[in-house]
């Protein structure tokens, strides 16, 4: 299934600027982006991000086993955002930055920890698409959980509609 995540250049810049800020103790930052769905040919999915929520410093927990761990208040905000977005089928995306250039992907910790959030999001926003996005300085990767699905689908590309137009395509195997 073709899945693309799309956002404006201004939103992409806002996210990068927020995530690049140094935190008092966490090794990295995370945030949440909200997005709605557009249909593509052959039942493809276009995820259109429309806003970003920065997580304040005091909502991080000290945990040296992960780059960043967020607390109950941040998760509660995300769940409420999903709840309020239900009429528009608006989903939520966990976003963080791998601070390098070029293609990026899930670390073992990312793959183990972040998907744990999805069942909760799906239970509140059953008809929305939720997911996770990992950005690098000039690339990115995303995974979406479709309504009723336990497994993620990899987004084939992330498009940044700004100047320049950014198109971050996932490399396909041989």
């Amino acid at each position: 299934m073709k899945v693309e995540i799309r956002l404006t250049g201004a939103l992409h810049r806002e996210i990068l600027e927020d995530l690049a800020r140094r935190h008092p103790f966490a090794a990295e930052r995370v945030g949440f982006a909200c997005g709605r769905v557009g249909s593509l040919v052959d039942r493809g999915i276009l995820v259109l991000l429309n806003r970003y929520h920065s997580i304040s410093d005091d909502q991080y927990l000290e945990d040296r086993t992960v780059g960043a761990r967020i607390g109950r208040d941040a998760i509660t905000w995300a769940m409420q955002a999903v709840y309020h977005g239900r009429p528009a089928h608006e989903g939520i995306f966990h976003v963080h930055l791998h601070d390098h250039r070029g293609a990026t992907g899930m670390s073992p910790v990312d793959g183990r920890e972040i998907p744990k959030l999805m069942p909760g999001f799906q239970s509140v926003g059953r008809e929305a698409v939720h997911g996770m996005i990992i950005l690098s300085r000039d690339h990115g990767a995303g995974w979406v959980w479709l309504p009723g699905h336990l497994e993620a689908v990899t987004a084939g590309r992330i498009s940044v509609i700004g100047k320049p137009v950014g198109i971050f395509e996932q490399e396909t195997g041989p």
Binding site: G9, R36, E169
Partner: protein, 267 residues
Amino acid sequence: MSAGRFARQSFLGTDSQERIARCTVGVAGGGGGGSHVIQQLAHIGFQRYVVYDGDVVEDSNLNRLVGAKTVDAAAETPKLHIAKMMIYGLQARARVQGFAGRWQDNPEPLRECRIVFGCVDSYQGRYELEVACRRYLMHYIDIGMDVHGENPPVIGGQIVLSSPGGPCMRCMGFLTDEKLAEEAARYGKAGARPQVVWPNGVLASTAVGLAVDLVTDWTRRPLTHEYLVYDGNTGEVKRSLTLRKFEFRGCPHFPDGEVGDPVAVEL
């Protein structure tokens, strides 16, 4: 594709051809303006296209339809075919999704585009394209020309860039309720407006220049919107006076959150 093919445009950036090749472009209307746009996009190296045009070539098109030949009018060749021949003739490996009809009848392929060129005749058609581009986050570049008056006739035209998050064609003063209402009063028909090849060439070239800048950022200048006015009698292209003291404080016509498929809400 030989490396030397794009050597003369290498100033666009070291990765510019990859950026250009990855960017899907849409063209709604393959007539006088659209045929110029398509030709230039193919020369530049764009590889992914979505093209809509349901018309066939007629005698009256041959004064301006780039790529069409005399035989095409006699054969009633679809304009879509002319567009495909132009693209494949320059980019044999291009992926062209072509539709012999209105984009509104098959809107999903258009959403794959990052940049859409509107080469349509009516204000309503422009408005509908802009709505689609806003909902699905695509740059929209509109071109159009007209000839009015008699002593002498005056050729005018416009190139408008409307990008998601930036001012729309209403904000910039190009689309107005009055224009839409006047057109609707004529039952939406633009009529057989005078059209000639060279203004379309100027408009299309300027529009494609904006697109290449959006894709490659070769000028390094901010570009969130544009409204350029063409005076075909003097040959000048100038920024619209409506932008001179324009201060953008958010677009009230397309709020940022209003994206994606419309969702029916039960009342």
